[in-house]
Symmetry: C2
Subunit: 333 residues, 2 copies
Amino acid sequence: MGGDAGPGIVVNALLKNIQRHTNVQFLVHGDEAVLAPLVARHPRLKDRCRVLHAPGRVSMDDKPSHVLRRGKDTSMWHAIDSVKKGDAQVAVSAGNTGALMAVSMFGLGIIDGISRPAIATIWPTLKGQTVVLDCGANVVATDEQLVDFAVMGEAFARAILGLEQPSVGLLNVGSEEQKGNDAVKSAAAILRGAGAGMNFHGFVEGDDITKGTVDVVVTDGFTGNIALKTAEGTAKLVGTYLRQALKRSLLGTIGAAIASGALNTLRRKLDPRASNGGIFLGLNGVVVKSHGGTDAAGFASAVDMAIDMAKADINARITTDRSRIAAAPAEAS
Amino acid sequence: MGGDAGPGIVVNALLKNIQRHTNVQFLVHGDEAVLAPLVARHPRLKDRCRVLHAPGRVSMDDKPSHVLRRGKDTSMWHAIDSVKKGDAQVAVSAGNTGALMAVSMFGLGIIDGISRPAIATIWPTLKGQTVVLDCGANVVATDEQLVDFAVMGEAFARAILGLEQPSVGLLNVGSEEQKGNDAVKSAAAILRGAGAGMNFHGFVEGDDITKGTVDVVVTDGFTGNIALKTAEGTAKLVGTYLRQALKRSLLGTIGAAIASGALNTLRRKLDPRASNGGIFLGLNGVVVKSHGGTDAAGFASAVDMAIDMAKADINARITTDRSRIAAAPAEAS
């Protein structure tokens, strides 16, 4: 029970989740002295939710290496350990992303055929939703790793977004074949060679993400993380400009008051809580990172996502798809 | 005279520029049969603007290598050539960015002490404006090239944005020292070692760009181009959401009508024409790339920027600053 989201938020989230998933049991790891009384306040949680004591907690500033060495008593470690032991099928945390990835990799290991895990996020687009990965699990990616990400993103989009044949694009500085660095050019050649097995669209550019040009956008974790945070910052900037513009004049203020319902709809649509934070793909177990600064609704929707993923069992598909592509000849670029 | 901006737009832009810069002469390169009658329509242009015939034009799809081999008769080539010969001090084009950079590098060469040129763009932020570079001149950057970009961005911010001691940040996936790939970590060590000569802030993240955390954000051209286009796409998405939200209800429509002045202010603030496209830094001559889909106001503001740069003569400063940093010991990371 770490992260910016306090225990109260998690308990309030579970009150929503127990209603939506009547056959799911919840294990809550953290300081029993804090958690037990919080849970006891809600009789509905009594049979659905078990508090498991973990004295330590991972702070937002802890280095992943520090947590790996000294974090065995933390709620984060216990949560991942419960997935490893099979006591739980999924883990959800609002804690330190880097530490959560390190503990998850150490505890669960990486699935067959994949060399590195990735963090996927779901972006709102003009057409609906697009999965973007890697958003920060790795700071560099080879061509083969980009192919891993493409396979994992496609499997996720099929299972969780319900798309039959999701289209996949590689993020680049132009859509022409000769553009880009060596890793993206080589990854594109491999994915083109994979043939009809994947609906590979080719290269896409930064503005294609929000256009919804493809269902899955693949990139290295350095670029993906910076694109994600740049987009968050831009949305915030536009929102601030809008408020400033409306406040500056009497007519603006009156118009905004009259249109407040519509403006609230916009605010909800841009709310990062709806986007669930990051989904860890490529591990032997489901781990979802909820947004740190979330509330009960946001944390509950991260839990929903994790439960959907556990039901879909996408890892077997990822291993099969990846080995099929590895066997196919890459197209000469 | 190439690019999406037709000759009519350029002539209308010059009508604005001749008023703002009474002592500047303009050379207009392109198809004389088209340009001469357009210019002749405006007697005010007669003594301020000379049409120089160039029969060829670079299309938006032409590969840079093709233009280098076969583009000597194009208006783009002639424009850069006029800077090379000293007939003009600056060149402005709304044409193909890749071709413009290739022709500029070939024609003008790179200034002493710098290994690669960069494309800088000016972003609106919560605090004002921030210079971001490289936005796409190169697809990879070494540590030393990132240092080049830092020096060029700082010199530009000082000369053109009028900042005495601009703060410089390196774009990364986290602000802690141990984060990031080898190139950014090593570049940070060099810039820290540069001492009081540069106001180096350290690492910044994607959302720091629009927050205005620093005056200059340095990154490789792959990441910078994707961040730029992701931000443009996000601003467009938010704008579309806003329109949809306001249209969906009667009160929203009425409110929007009343607040239309304020909403128009917002639209102008987000207008990409105000941001002038890209500024080419590191060349022996000033080249500014105007936005392709611009209008006369946008092209005129790109011309203004180019004239300001010619007056500031920032290249000597860049060479001095770069050699000072090259002589300083890098800080151990």
